[in-house]
Amino acid sequence: MRNLPALTAILCSGAFLLTSCQPSKPSVKIGINAELTGEMPAVGASCRQAAELFAEQVNKGGGLAVGAAKLPIQLSVVDNSCKADQSAAAAQRLISQDGVLVMVGPDASSCAIPAGEIAEALGCLMISPWSTNPKTTVDSTTGKTKKNVFRACFTDRFESPVLAAFATKKLNAKTAAVLYDVSSEAPTSQSALFKEAFEKAGGKVVAMETYTTGDRDFSAQLTKIRETAPDIIYLPAPYNDTPLIASQARQLGIKAPFLGSDAWSSPDIIKLDAGKNLEGSYFCNHYSTETPNPKAKQFIADYRARYGNDPDDVAALTYDAMTLAANRIAAAGKTDRAAVRDAMASTRSFDGVTGHFVYPEGAREPAKSAVIMQIKDGGFHWVSTVEP
């Protein structure tokens, strides 16, 4: 099954060689750099599915209008294994070998940061749908904003204060404990920014505990947290670590509610939480499937019809990133990397599935709303929307 595309590709290229120099049909090539395997395969799957859905829709409608021609979108999907080195390699391959015009992805910040360095060096527009770490769009050597790297989501500088405000105002939390993966980029920046915002709002962070990627036993850290008796526990952990942490915390008798980041947003978190330990927990997200936005409603219906499940925020943001990329290629009017990049840089606003985007002058990330969601009765439920 999995080999089918590869096999077809081999056969096609064989046929291509036989028929000799027939020029390949012109198309718009978009690269997808996704976490298909590794730590968070659900993220990669959502990213790929949304991108494929978008490409199918455009191609069914005759293709993308670029200048006078209507060109089909051709996707090049590469797995980055959710690893920093492999996402850089995937970016290299997409840009220099596959010759893509725009790269969408990676999603995880640990991958988006190194891939962004490659995109910047090779001068290819990259739009990360889901990477919230501020570092993604900043050049690591000069500290200046990267020219070619944009994103379709808000950053941790917005998300963490939103959560801190929710904790202090709505949950009346005075003290908080944080447990995060110190070897992963997004949780590290989210934790530091949450602590800053929570303490600015008058609360006190009584424990900052860490673990490393791949850890399964958190009992020592949680026992330590239990000693400090916090009002809430902030867990900016991915959807597949969170249920483990929650179950161990409840077994130790910790009753404080959990608060999570947008990394919780995959519905897999509920499937993995067999003990229902996350019931009643809150997290910050990019959008809600309960949104009244007609664009989102259409997308959710299409996605459900195509894949049989609800699109999570990675899917929604990828769809927005794809729409942005396609619009900018159309606006540039030619399949030229620099022109597409300039068209992206001059974008000021955009209406997407995940809400209204405003890109301030020179900014690489949109100012857009966040939502607070609650896990209740085996599903995600909208609690409130926070405007920037």
Partner: protein, 291 residues
């Protein structure tokens, strides 16, 4: 004090699981002086076999444990028969590479079949007990109890039975043993089966304690158990258990009293220090390397 006692319970749980896996590394090293790097993946399969079993028939915990141990034992024997036996007289590097390869094959096959992490269903009613301010769950007691029972049984097997004697004989001189009429191949196969069964049991218990099961779960736990076996003196069964509890204890206690960011740094530095002073591990004996 209560805090440290609670951390000690955490350490015992972690140490028990490390010990079950470390025994598998140590047993195989004992008979073949070879490191079975596929062992961490056999451990991972223990958890997956349990998932598969429960998906087919909902069985009670004890039955699941027996079936999983049987399945991993069979797998261990197959690996030995088809991957390691043909290379038994090949250079040792080839055997190690084969072991690494076997591990990767198992891991990636699992990844191909199940790329997503899966929840482990509840096999037991997990009650939390409060004992003088300490929290202990049924699951913790079962994990520690089952591990200790399996370790005692293995110790008995190795020290008191004729099979154990044969195993120890192969360990001390593999070339002479077949001349004395001992079926060396069979003893080695059974050793692999036993080691894999313990690894499978550890996988099942680990899956119950940390109920999210994924194809990559064997990597870090496998390495840690291997380190534990080396610290204890690889090839020595009691050493493997000692090393495992020591590693579990140091890991948990480092976090208990110091910032958790330093956990791996401090615990592994301490373990390195042990190797500096006891290069053969705590209970390992220096042996002459045969040319």
């Amino acid at each position: 004090m209560k805090y440290l006692a609670q951390q000690a319970i955490n350490a015992l749980q972690l140490g028990s699981i490390y010990a079950l896996i470390a025994l598998g590394y140590s047993m195989v090293y004992g008979v073949l002086t070879m490191i079975n790097f596929a062992h961490g993946d056999v451990f991972m399969l223990g958890a997956f076999f349990c998932l598969l079993l429960i998906a087919i028939v909902p069985v009670p915990f004890w039955l699941a444990l027996i079936v999983v141990m049987g399945a991993t034992a069979l797998l261990g024997t197959l690996i030995e028969r088809f991957a390691y036996r043909p290379l038994r007289n090949a250079p040792r590097v080839s055997a190690i590479i084969t072991a690494l390869g076997c591990g990767l094959v198992i891991q990636n096959t699992t990844l191909g079949i199940s790329p997503y992490a899966r929840p482990m269903p509840h096999l037991l009613d997990n009650t939390t007990f409060q004992l003088g301010g300490l929290t202990i769950t049924t699951l913790q007691m079962i994990i520690i109890g089952v591990s200790v029972a399996l370790m005692v049984a293995l110790d008995f097997l190795i020290r008191k039975t004729s099979f154990g004697m044969a195993m120890r004989a192969i360990s001390s001189d593999r070339a002479t043993v077949p001349l004395l009429g001992i079926p060396a191949n069979r003893v080695i196969a059974v050793t692999f089966a036993l080691g894999a069964a313990l690894g499978g049991a550890a996988g099942l218990l680990y899956g119950m304690a940390y109920p999210v099961v994924s194809a990559a779960m064997g990597i870090s736990v496998g390495w840690k158990a291997f380190v534990a076996a080396v610290i204890g003196g690889i090839g020595n069964m009691r050493g493997a258990v000692l090393g495992a509890f020591l590693l579990g204890g140091v890991e948990v206690m480092t976090v208990a009293v110091l910032p958790s960011t330093y956990r791996d740094l401090i615990s592994y530095s301490l373990l390195l220090l042990i190797l500096v002073f006891k290069p053969h591990g705590l209970l390992g004996k220096p042996t002459l390397q045969k040319a």
